[in-house]
């Protein structure tokens, strides 16, 4: 399955003979083993959705969210080590706040993605620290419109129209590619996101999961908020019906 580094994988500061940094690749494994997160850039906003796996029934519902807000207009979905994800969000908040204080304007999505990715990359340089074991989906809405970025543990970032990370990413990516994102409204995208996460969720391996849905759109006054309960419930129902089309519901 995985190739073993054997001697070249002990530190971030070591290349393998074929030019790989194994510690960074291992960090990516942490992301690949986590619950799926997807982001969709629609014509009128951003939708973020997370399959938050619930390991124990004793956990308080709605806690340990993997969706967080950085500035009014920026939402973040993390995958991988939850604590690392929270740390990166903290850094992103500092960057956004510092930008506002210096330039008296909200930070543009691209600038924030650039800064955060530089930060992540710095932790891949030294043997005294470990790379972050999380990937971050950044959804923003600034004066240029909605934008979506993803930063991986290596510090690479790209802009996306649709993105999936985590264990179900291959299947989710296939589903996302079927969507006409440029014509999709956020309302429809919320339903599609819920549907896709239900499709990729493996009932056998991971029992319980919470569906975290958040958006940035006109209805949310261009701010990142969790999707209102009624719309989320509607999306959940749409997803269930799509999964079980033969079951009749009263």
């Amino acid at each position: 399955m995985t190739s073993i580094g054997t001697g070249y994988d002990l530190a971030s500061s070591t290349y393998s003979p074929d030019g790989r940094i194994f510690q960074v690749e291992y960090a990516n494994k942490a992301v690949e083993n986590s619950g799926t997160a997807i982001g969709l850039r629609c014509k009128d906003g951003i939708v973020l959705a997370i399959e938050k796996l619930v390991p124990s029934k004793l956990l308080v519902p709605g806690g340990n969210k993997r969706t967080q807000t950085v500035d009014y207009h920026v939402g973040v979905a993390t995958a991988g080590l939850l604590a690392d994800g929270r740390h990166l969000v903290g850094r992103a908040r500092e960057e956004a706040a510092h930008w506002r204080s210096t330039y008296k304007e909200p930070i543009a999505g691209k600038q924030l993605a650039d800064r955060l990715s530089s930060y992540v990359q710095a932790y891949t340089l030294y043997s005294s620290v470990r790379p972050f074991g999380s990937a971050v989906i950044l959804g923003t809405f600034d004066h240029t419109g909605p934008a979506l970025y993803m930063i991986d543990p290596a510090g690479n970032f790209f802009g996306y129209r649709g993105i999936a990370i985590g264990k179900g990413k291959q299947l989710a990516k296939t589903e996302i590619e079927k969507l006409k994102l440029d014509e999709l409204s956020v309302r429809d995208a919320v339903r599609e996101a819920a549907r896709i996460l239900h499709v990729v969720h493996d009932e056998a391996k991971d029992k319980d999961f919470e569906l975290e849905l958040s958006w940035i759109c006109e209805a949310s006054k261009n701010r990142h908020v969790m999707v209102p309960a009624d719309i989320a419930a509607d999306a959940e129902q749409f997803a269930q019906q799509a999964l079980n089309p033969d079951e009749m519901e009263d």
């Binding site: 210096t102 008296k104 650039d114």
Partner: protein, 211 residues
């Protein structure tokens, strides 16, 4: 206000007025060291970016240093950001420097220009380092004498030509009453299309009651 030995003062009258589509900025041209006029043809209108200028009053050295730093910041911003900084952003940069270094600076600056989001904007940053967005702003030692004239003559929605006349008249009046202001008037009209500089020599100044 006591100057340090050798320090040179921009006695000054500076002004900026916003109109629909841009701004008009103007200044006199006198720099003094005590009563000696060190430069009688000074250009106090300094570019910090293609469509953002500042009008400098107070210590010549201090304002030049601050403007140079903001010019650098604006270049970095536009290179990294991919678009020109808004006037508000440039004004924020000036404010940060003027406020954090208020004990060591004597700088009264008016930031004015055009950006694609807000069109023309004028921001005043007086000695303490506060920031004030205004439809028009006046500054420098000569400005004291023209507050009444400006308040009476200003109207909303003036055209660019009317703003130029308003600015020219106001600065001329200040120059005739303030010993630290004089020489000629330098004006600039900043719009989306660019920066148009206007020079009014000392013998072509608008004349008013001279006694």
């Amino acid at each position: 206000m006591s100057l340090k030995p050798g320090e040179v003062n921009l006695g000054t009258t500076i002004m900026a007025v916003e109109f629909n589509g841009g701004v008009v900025i103007g200044a006199d041209s006198r720099t003094t060291t005590g009563s000696y006029i060190a430069n009688r043809v000074t250009d106090k209108l300094t570019m910090v970016h293609d469509r953002v200028y500042c009008c400098r009053s107070g210590s010549a050295a201090d304002t030049q240093a601050v403007a140079d730093i903001v010019h650098y910041y604006c270049q970095m911003y536009s290179t990294q950001h991919g678009e020109a900084p808004a006037v508000k952003v440039a004004a924020a940069m000036f404010q940060e420097l003027c406020y954090q270094n208020k004990d060591n600076l004597m700088a009264g600056i008016i930031v004015a220009g055009w950006d694609k989001h807000k069109g023309g904007s004028v921001y005043s940053i007086p000695l303490g380092g506060s920031l004030h967005k205004q439809p028009f702003a006046i500054g420098g030692s000569g400005s004291s004498y023209i507050y009444g004239y400006c308040d009476a003559a200003y109207r909303h929605n003036m055209t660019a030509e009317e703003c130029v006349a308003f600015t020219k008249n106001a600065i001329a009046l200040a120059m005739s009453r303030d010993g630290s202001s004089g020489g000629c008037i330098r004006l600039a009209v900043i719009t989306e299309a660019g920066v148009e500089r206007i020079f009014v020599p000392g013998n072509e100044l608008p004349t008013f009651f001279e006694g």
